[in-house]
Amino acid sequence: MASRPRTLYEKIWDAHVVETRDDGTALIYIDRHLVHEVTSPQAFEALKVAGRPVRRPELTLAVPDHNLPTTPRLDAAGKPVPIVDVESAAQLAALEVNAPAFGIRYIPATAKEQGIVHVVGPEQGFSLPGTTIVCGDSHTACHGGLGALAFGIGTSEVEHVLATQTLLLQQSRPMEVRVDGDIGPGISAKDLILHIIGRIGAAGGSGYVIEYRGAVFQRMTVEERLTVCNMSIEAGARAGLIAPDDITFAYLKGRPMAPKGAEWDAAVAYWRTLHTDEGAVFAKSVTINAADVEPSVTWGTSPEDVVAIGGRVPSPEDFADEAKRVAAQKSLDYMGLTPGMAMTDVSIENVFIGSCTNSRIEDLRAAAAILKGRRKADNVRWAIVVPGSGLVKAMAEEEGLDRIFTEAGFEWREPGCSACLGMNPDKVPPGERCASTSNRNFVGRQGPGARTHLVSPAMAAAAAVTGRLADVRALV
């Protein structure tokens, strides 16, 4: 098996095969399982009904994030603030009871370690290179930024992992996205991944696991790599990953759940073998010219609807295939945009900085750097910053970022998924526009009728200051 040159994905896959079946599927061992309140209740219930235990409780970590309001969680007397939405409250209460009942570590809503699952996993050192990581959420691909094979699963699979610590899977094909050279100043990892999705399309990675390769990714910080891998699913890929290196190891060293002492050394030695071999074959290969990457924004209702900020709203006629022309027209109607309009003429009423794509400390620093000494434009009605975790929030406060945000007219919130999805109180009103650092611009994603423009944190800050979609490079 080891004689043939293998891709990073194939190496991680091979290391997790418990057994292979006649039909070509494999029973794959799952090293790390993240659980939140939305996709887990029926899985726990099924275990209860069948009288089944969780096979390896220490390999699962539970944290609430999707439903949690981002307003203060404790009142003046230090008591937890009750959650108004009854169904949200019930889902949150179920996790709080289920996790300890099955021996699973649970991070409560009021703990400083609480946050979005995909921020918490890497931050705690729970997510590690070379591991298989799953969660009932499609943006689990995020953890691939550490060199892990990470992907989203459904509720029945959550149950399967809890009971057996495995999944029955069909192997995906390895795909390479290569970016060499340099991306320009003021251009972020988010701009790059939006550009990539715009190039390969929302289904361009279907059936594949993407490995991001080349100098641009090798120079990235772990935070930036997490942003890139996070959105692999928006290109249709099951997962996305970047080979771990010294930058990864430095990020993980000393994290609470990372290996320690001699085990750390052994782990690093193993992690150093996790790279694609010379001569390994990718089923599909895409090369992006770094010089082509500009600050990116979306104009439509699919993450592939990307243009450079200096560009214009496309016309449905610009698209070769009929299905895309129809989709583009629908998108334009929903978004209230006319073909040919300059993207910088699109005015914005809401700004959201947050989500598992862009809520880590570097994201907040990038936005704060633009906002420092500035204020949001008057037409920007609602601007919020939602740190990805309590630890990110504390670090930002220590650096004084919270004051920069509040002085700029932003609300400084408690960690959670917030306005990334219309499931908790943070919603964008119908017909209004939002410059958002999240990952999905689907119809109704940020609330019924809400119009989302996906951007980087610095671009979101620039939109807040100018009241329009704007090129952040003019503000630095």
């Binding site: 061992y29 209740p41 069948a50």
Partner: protein
């Protein structure tokens, strides 16, 4: 999952075609935290009609449902199977089923029986008389007190799972030894991989 070998009882003579999963359980029931209790929302739209078969005392608690073509089409929600099970339905007889739904049904211990339209029509008649219908999985037959006897096809793997009450989780659990030895070799070679939250 409850094993299913033989189901004997009255049948709900629905007969309707294209019963989609939105009819079986409407979307508003999906924010629940339980698989149980969904029977309350099952077939809600149909049950709003006076004189519907579901609320007819003659079919109360009947374990068999007889429907028309393309049963369970539409959204992939597993809640549809949970809702049926909560109503006490263990067998659905129809001329055809949606693939996803029949998979979900089997996963939850419900047997989808595919029979030709004329056989389904005959069973609807028998059901409306309030007579008992017997479905035997081992012999793959549906019989009535009038000596009707229809045989049906079923994938052998599904049959095996239903007869023994094996769901996918149960099947993988049966491979516990293989999983255990995989874990043991990892614990020996790379102990940090197996520590998870206990490393903190």
């Amino acid at each position: 999952m409850q094993p299913l070998t033989r189901v004997e009882g009255r049948a709900i003579p629905l007969g309707l075609k294209n019963v989609d999963t939105d009819i079986i359980i409407p979307a508003k029931w999906l924010k629940t935290i339980s698989r149980e209790g969904l029977g309350a929302g099952a077939f809600e739209v149909l049950r709003a009609e006076p004189g519907n078969v579901f609320d007819d005392p003659a079919y109360k608690g009947a374990p068999i449902l007889i429907a028309g073509d393309n049963y369970g089409c539409g959204s992939s929600r597993e809640h549809a199977a949970w809702a049926m099970l909560d109503l006490g339905i263990r067998v659905v007889i129809a001329p055809s089923f949606s693939d996803i739904h029949s998979g979900n049904a089997v996963k939850n211990g419900i047997l989808p029986v595919v029979l030709p339209q004329d056989a389904v029509d005959r069973l609807l008649e028998v059901a409306r008389e309030g007579q008992t219908i017997t479905v035997d999985l081992e012999s793959q037959t549906v019989t009535t007190p009038y000596q009707d006897r229809f045989t049906f096809e079923i994938d052998p793997f599904r049959k095996h799972c239903l007869l023994n009450g094996l769901d996918e989780v149960g099947l993988t659990m049966a491979r516990g030894e293989a999983i255990g030895s995989f874990e043991a070799s990892r614990t020996a070679a790379q102990p940090w991989l197996m520590r998870g939250t206990e490393a903190a």
